[in-house]
């Protein structure tokens, strides 16, 4: 039975899970949640995720929210198929994957998501992008990317010489970031740039990226 993923094709966090599902060759059905109608903040959806956020995964009678927890579940459940995203047979490699998943979550996400939000989402809410917020976070993002650059000059991917969830988790926000005028933060760092080109050209991501748009022109 295919798992159901409630979310939106253009959403960063829904995309995170979809890339993982494709990497694991797992069947799933995307059930669209109407964000503009506020469907995610109303009682039927709140019963699935009380925090009123997408995505939510339903697998039989298991309901999960939080895209990173869902992705780890998918990577474990389908560990025998597709790419080994969690290094399940090697405890120390698995631990390094956990470290760099936390890095995405605690260091990268908090500074890249405000930039993506200001540039793409604020206009949809009728607000002008707040340049002060963008500038402040670009500076912090630069420092995080310096650390990525250093790590990626020593290992091919973030957790080691193998692709893993630690890299995958960076895909969706970085994809939108590369459509802003600030993409030079990635392109000016040779190892980060090479890593980005590698991970964003993986077929599993290409399948998802084609639907990732906020309706901006030229897309």
């Amino acid at each position: 039975m295919a798992v159901k993923l409630y979310g939106a094709a253009m959403s960063t966090c829904t995309s995170r899970v979809m890339v993982c599902l494709h990497e694991k060759e797992a069947d799933f059905e995307l059930v669209a949640v109407n964000l503009f109608a506020g469907e995610h903040k109303q009682p039927p959806f709140l019963a699935k995720n009380p925090f009123g956020q997408i995505p939510v995964l339903e697998d039989g009678d298991l309901t999960l929210f939080e895209s990173r927890a869902i992705s780890v579940y998918v990577a474990e459940k389908f560990k025998e198929t597709g790419c080994d995203l969690i290094r399940y047979q090697n405890l120390k490699e698995a631990a390094q994957v956990k470290v760099w998943m936390e890095v995405e979550s605690q260091q990268y996400h908090p500074v890249i998501s405000p930039v993506v939000f200001q540039f793409f989402v604020a206009p949809l809410q009728g607000k002008a992008p707040d340049q002060a917020i963008i500038d402040e976070n670009l500076e912090k993002l630069g420092k995080v990317l310096d650390i990525y650059e250093n790590k990626l000059s020593r290992t091919k991917y973030l957790a080691g010489d193998f692709y893993s969830l630690a890299d995958l988790f960076n895909l969706s926000y970085t994809y939108y970031f590369m459509k802003t005028p600030f993409a030079n933060l990635i392109n000016d760092r040779p190892h980060v740039k090479a890593w980005w080109e590698d991970i964003s050209s993986r077929p599993a991501f290409q399948k998802v990226a084609s639907a990732m748009t906020f309706g901006e022109k030229g897309n």
């Binding site: 298991l62 927890a69 470290v99 979550s105 605690q106």
Partner: protein, 214 residues
Amino acid sequence: MVVKVYGPIMAACPQRVMACLLEKDVEFEIVHVDLEAEEHKTSDFLLRQPFGQVPAIEDGDFKLFESRAIIRYYAAKYEERGPNLLGNSLEGRALVDQWLEVEAHNFNDLVYTLVLQLVVLPRMGKHGDVVLARSCEQKLEKVFDIYEQRLSNATYLAGDSFTLADLSHLPGIRYLVNDAGMGHLVAERKHVNAWWEAISNRSAWKKLMKLVNY
């Protein structure tokens, strides 16, 4: 071989790791890092943790940072010893992960900001932003409402037993209740209160409290 935990014993994130090591009966040694002297920003420390934060651990020649990755590692490494902090099945583990993510993304920033403004900055002789702290408090009321609803359906966040999802909340809630004057967030919610009583009375947490001299 004793695990080395780098960080001040007073700080929340090292406490998250120490609580886990105590639950799993893993011997550790605290290597103090002087945050006020900016020791965590020295080039030596940055080799250990490139983001200049605590904690980091060293276990023989194996090194890790990020407290939530460290607790996941030790809970898996010593799965057979002490309480099962990870969950009993794939689905059980997924629920633990889900609530760990909730702690990290929906809870932690609010607690961190509030404690910084009301406790840490004043201790350093600076003014905290009371308006910002009040805004965090209001958002935390909503988060704790969700926890109250969840804990009326389950004894612990991920189900019937104490797991990393509950453990991860211990240091932050202690700061809220004991240092930031936010005890009402817990006390006014029947199930959250019962849960807090249960998890903060575990012997591993009480051992840590003694170590920290609270």
